[in-house]
Amino acid sequence: MKIGDISYRLKVPLMFTLVILITASVVTLALTWRAYEELREEVFNNAVEIGSVLSNSLPNTMRHDDLWGAYRLVQAAEGWSGETSSRLLVVLDRDGRIYVSNSPKELAVTTPLRVHGAELARVEAEVLRLTGNLNPRPYEYPNDRRLYVILPMLSDGVAIGTLVIGYDRALFWPRFADIVERVVLSALLVTVLLLPLGWYLGNRMVKPLGHLARCMSKVGRGSSEEIVCDLRQGKDEIGQLGISFQQMLRELDEKERLESGMLASERLAAVGRLAAGVAHEINNPLGGMLNALNTFRRYSETDELGRETFDLIERGLQQIRETVSALLVEANPRSHSLSPKDINDVRMLLLADVSRKQISLVWHNRLNAEIALPSTPIRQVLINLSLNAVQASPDGGAVHCSVDSQQGLLRICVINDGPTISRERLLSLFEPFSENATGNGLGLWVTYQLVHQLEGNIEVKSRDGKTQFAVELPIKEPQ
């Protein structure tokens, strides 16, 4: 199991523990070091104290070569702090030989210090190295059993011997153990107190992330509108993540919408080109055929059957021509400019159906002057959209129409409360003869073509029982 696989719910408390452990270790080290320093100082002071107590009597016994007197002094000094086994006192003569020690069995009188092991040999070398130095000085060597303090024994300012006091390092261990025990206990206590906090914080941190992860896993599998992800939004990292995620969702949505819109409009353009081409190709021979038929009927004698046949052909050809011309939508730019009255006319047209279905029609005509746009196609657009809305609305429903001109744009907005149009159907809503269309299916096609010919755009939104068609048309300044 890799560290990356562990949940933050565990990692955060674990990190807390780790931090506590590291802190505890550092504190232990610092305290131990300090205790060691203090002890060294204490030891040194103790030695200096002993040295000063012995500074008169011990040199005196040495001067009188009173070995027994010196031994009794050393013994008395040994018992100073009661820890007899931990302290070594050795009195050296000027040649580094043991004059007397507090453990004469090991450190026999008159033997040189150096014969008693490497540690004491170093001490002797240190003593002899600094014979001219009359100040007490500490001496320690790594891994030695003892710390030493070297105290020259002066008689009238002349060193006549040296008192070496060795302190067993084992003496320090109980203090170190005490420090370690205290720190470990404190660390344990803090850990126990902080672990639940770590657990809580870990959870708190992970919760939005887990939520986000679940939301992310939904992205791409369905409509981004269906992804409901109420991430906390704020200025901290997780809040920013929430904001970014929402923004991403919106952008994805927008992108999808643009893509599908583009697809649809491309398809509509292709269909339009095809329809126009086919219509032209049909219209030419069709005109010829109608002319020929007309001429033939005018200048020829036919029997009853012939006449009926020609009438039939003519009616069929006329129907083809109407259908084709319906496909060939052309906004007639020559019509007069749009006036508020044109909009109200459309309302009048609707009233019959509205009253029949008892629909409440809200009509906002916010135009108050003529607008430099051809009235005919716009009336057509408005009639198509509003009639569709009235048809789509259930009995007793509501239809909302508004026409507005702002910032060089004419806005037409038609809303009905009919059934929501499905996503699939929305994609091919404006296509002619589409399967789902009611009527001949050319109304929205014509509307679309007209809007595009006027260089505007049309959008449809159908959601939550409301369907809205919004048209924007650029108003061209009269040149």
Partner: protein, 286 residues
Amino acid sequence: MTNSRKTVRGFLFLACLLLAGNLLADAAKTYRIGLTAVILTDQTSFLKEWQDYLSDRLQHPVQFVQRQTYQEVTELLLSGDLDAAWTCGYPYVRHRDQLKLLGVPLFNGAPLYRSYLIVPATDTSTREIGDLKRKVFAYSDPDSNSGFLYPQVSLIGEGIDPRHFFSKSFFTWAHRDVVKAVADGVAQGGSVDGYVWETLSRHEPALTAGTRVVSKSPLFGFPPLVVRKDFLPEHFYALRNALLHMSSDSEGRRLLQRLNLDGFSEGEDALFNGVAASVRILDGIE
């Protein structure tokens, strides 16, 4: 009036009596007895008891005076600061012309003792003093027979100059400390009063257990109590009787038991001929 005069007279009489008594008491002899380390002089409570016992028997105050060295005690005795001293046979022999025996203690029934040569208990190889060449040696006191004179003489007897035989020698100024010096390992050999060693082995067996007795000397006269020759006879006899009779009462016997002695004898000068012979040998070498 008469009554009160009588009372006053009575008071005056009483006061005179008391004054006279005090004067008499002042005039009376305080026995000052010097003690040396021939016995275990660090038993302060015992010495107090013994002092009180002797004061009681003599009907005179007795005061024990302790000094660290034999020499100091001897000098105090000779100068008249002390009336008597319990010292070693060696100073007695040296100053025999000025001193006389007051009493000689009886140890194991006889006024005799030996000098012991001791080594640390861990030393199992030493057989005689000659084996201690180049070692550290502890003497008790330069005026001690058992703690200095005898080992010196026995080395001389083996043809060895004691002054250059040991790598180091020192005085502990007390027999007990010789035992301690050897037991602690400060010295690798020591010479000690046999009586002190035996007494210590009863009082402080742990201390003597740290030592091993290598050899015992021939018998010598026990360290005696001595007085100046000019010491007043009545005091001399009073003091001697008090000592001699210690073994005949229970308190005295109890004190003697603490001393690990059987009693005191009058003693003879001839007891110290052995010491005198040693002194001659030592003087001969010097």
